[in-house]
């Protein structure tokens, strides 16, 4: 049995009766057993339930009962998205035993289409990081070379799909957290338009800019998942109404006659040589397919990292206040403590990156500084959006490398947070402005490390974005996972 098939192929093979769900899930669990010790993508594996579900779905198919369109597809979910009855730890000591009493909207939508939640995957604590090294349960490693980071913060999602431990995964993208691991692990990752997917059940980090996004092996798979998880939700007032689009249909429409803008601020200085060369190749391949490429300057991008980390830290410091260990949390009694001493002691169990961002957040919001930092950061968002609006009058898409650098070694940049923050330069723009962006695996470096290309489109133009991504994907010929 080939675990390397795409989610879409899995669905058609199950429908045709070529494979059984139980067999595929059992093999997937064996695979996890075999390789996850090396990459540590999973925090929780729900083996027994997954097998029972698989059997039940096989039975439904056999008896010709109506079956959900996922047909038992094994899916992993980032451990900051709630799953009733299964731990949702956020890779934090603070929530090490936390079992959400409810399903996130995306979880229940997947379940109602007969997807099987095979387990919960690793992340940087509360999604703060871009390497998946900042997990209370230890780092995830890149399946293409386990000395290297898988990107982050949805590193568990990217690695689990790349390592054939599941067919697809849901991550969350606050500043690039779906696209970075997609790029570093050579899989496809989409950050949808803000308001497209319900955040109900996503544990907040920077709630004004983050979205849940699918990670899978192919663009078709991402379109398929988007059909299931997108749309208005009564539990989330920030979701947009009137979304009723089939993202799978017309996916192969091509990009002939379309205009693509190459963002000069994301392709010039500071981009790794091999990444730059891969980007140029991607551009010429798209031109070969009939697209017209022009250079576009978005000078507000220069301020995007400062604006992004100001907003993210401010919101994080507020969103993480609720973890005081009174109502839920790890085992630590209040006996003998005064209130402030108790919560300060409990909260010292956050990891250093989370604490650093909370301190920064407290600083930028403290009396007298709001106008200097937070408000200016908000104005940068509007400035970026205005420049993008101008750009999208001229072009249909924008393009850049997803990450300006190649994957690096575990531990290599952990002591220099600012340097690491700066590597988010190509991804944060989509979060600050709300527009969708996708990372498509495009090439391998000379050292065998993945390189992803990022495409952007205007808000709620996911259908067009996926068409372009599909076109780009069809120009590639990438190696198979050998781990």
């Amino acid at each position: 049995m080939n675990l390397g098939i795409s989610a879409t192929e899995f669905v058609s093979q199950v429908r045709e009766g070529a494979i059984s769900v139980e067999e595929f899930v059992a093999k997937t669990l064996e695979r996890i057993e075999k390789v996850d010790g090396k990459i540590h993508a999973f925090i929780t594996v729900d083996s027994q339930n997954a097998l029972e579900k698989a059997k039940a779905i096989d039975k439904k198919i056999k008896s010709k009962e109506k079956t959900g369109i996922c047909f038992g597809m094994p899916v992993s979910i980032k451990d900051n998205i709630c799953t009733a009855g299964l731990k949702t730890t956020c890779a934090s000591k603070m929530l090490e035993n936390f079992v959400a009493p409810y399903d996130a909207t995306v979880t229940s939508r997947l379940k109602s289409e007969d997807a099987i939640i095979i387990g919960k995957v690793n992340l940087d604590e509360f999604a703060m990081g871009s390497t998946t090294e900042h997990s209370n349960f230890g780092p995830t490693r890149n399946p293409w070379n386990t000395d290297y980071v898988p990107g982050g913060s949805s590193g568990g999602s990217g690695a689990s799909v790349a390592a054939l431990e599941c067919l697809a995964s849901l991550g969350s993208d606050t500043g690039g957290s779906v696209r970075s691991p997609a790029s570093f692990c050579s899989v496809v990752g989409l950050k949808p338009t803000y308001g497209m997917i319900s955040r109900y059940g996503l544990v907040s980090y920077a709630n004004s800019i983050e979205q849940i996004g699918p990670i899978a092996k192919t663009v078709e798979d991402v379109a398929f998942l988007l059909n299931i998880i997108s749309g208005h939700d009564v539990h989330d007032n920030t979701t947009a109404k009137n979304q009723n689009i089939d993202y799978v249909k017309d996916l192969k429409s091509g990009i002939s006659g379309k205009k693509i803008g190459i963002i000069s601020q994301m392709t010039g200085d500071g981009v790794d040589k091999e990444v730059a060369s891969a980007t140029n190749t991607a551009i010429s391949k798209l031109q070969d397919l009939g697209a017209q490429c022009v250079s576009i300057s978005l000078d507000a991008v220069e301020h995007s990292i400062a604006a992004y980390y100001t907003i993210a830290a401010a919101e994080a410091s507020s969103n993480l206040s609720r973890y005081d260990n009174l109502r839920y949390g790890f085992d630590f009694g209040t006996e003998g403590y005064e209130f402030k001493a108790f919560i300060s002691k409990a909260r010292s169990n956050f990891g250093p990156e989370v604490i650093r961002r909370m301190l920064l957040g407290a600083f930028v919001l403290s009396a007298g500084y709001y106008g200097k930092y937070y408000l200016k950061a908000q104005k940068v968002r509007a400035m970026i959006k205005a420049q993008l609006d101008e750009a999208f009058k001229k072009v249909d898409y924008l393009i850049s490398p997803t990450m300006p650098i190649l994957p690096f070694k575990v531990g290599e940049k952990i002591d220099d947070p600012l340097k690491l923050y700066l590597t988010d330069i190509n991804t944060v723009t989509a979060n600050l402005s709300g527009i969708p962006a996708i990372s498509v695996p495009f090439a391998m470096s000379s050292s065998g490390l993945p390189i992803g290309i990022q495409l952007f489109a205007d808000s709620f133009k996911e259908k067009e974005l996926l068409q372009a991504a599909y076109s780009l994907q069809e120009t590639t010929n990438l190696p198979e996972m050998t781990l």
Binding site: K241, Y309, S317, L320, G434
Partner: protein, 88 residues
């Protein structure tokens, strides 16, 4: 310059005991210096982004009891209360 005292004040605001505040000084200072680059941005507009909702699309005022007994999922003390530390 960020000083130890300032880090301790911030830690007090977010309620975290820092065993080694000095570990954070250099990095926080470096990052805040970087944030100061926002001072040099020339804005041509005071606009900010934000999504909107019409009043009529807000939730209707209907009481619906939460089906599950939520307290059973929480750290429950005597008589269904949550226990808090001593307040001074």
């Amino acid at each position: 310059m960020v000083e130890r005292k300032e880090i301790e004040h911030l830690a007090d605001l977010v309620k975290v005991d820092l065993s080694e505040p000095e570990k954070y000084i250099k990095q926080v200072e470096q990052i805040l210096n970087y944030f100061d680059s926002l001072d040099h941005v020339e804005f041509h507009s005071d606009d900010t982004l934000g999504i909107q909702i019409a009043k009529d699309d807000l939730r209707d005022d209907v009481y619906e009891p939460y089906g599950d007994s939520l307290i059973e999922h929480l750290k429950k003390d005597q008589n269904n209360f949550i226990r808090a530390p001593k307040m001074v």
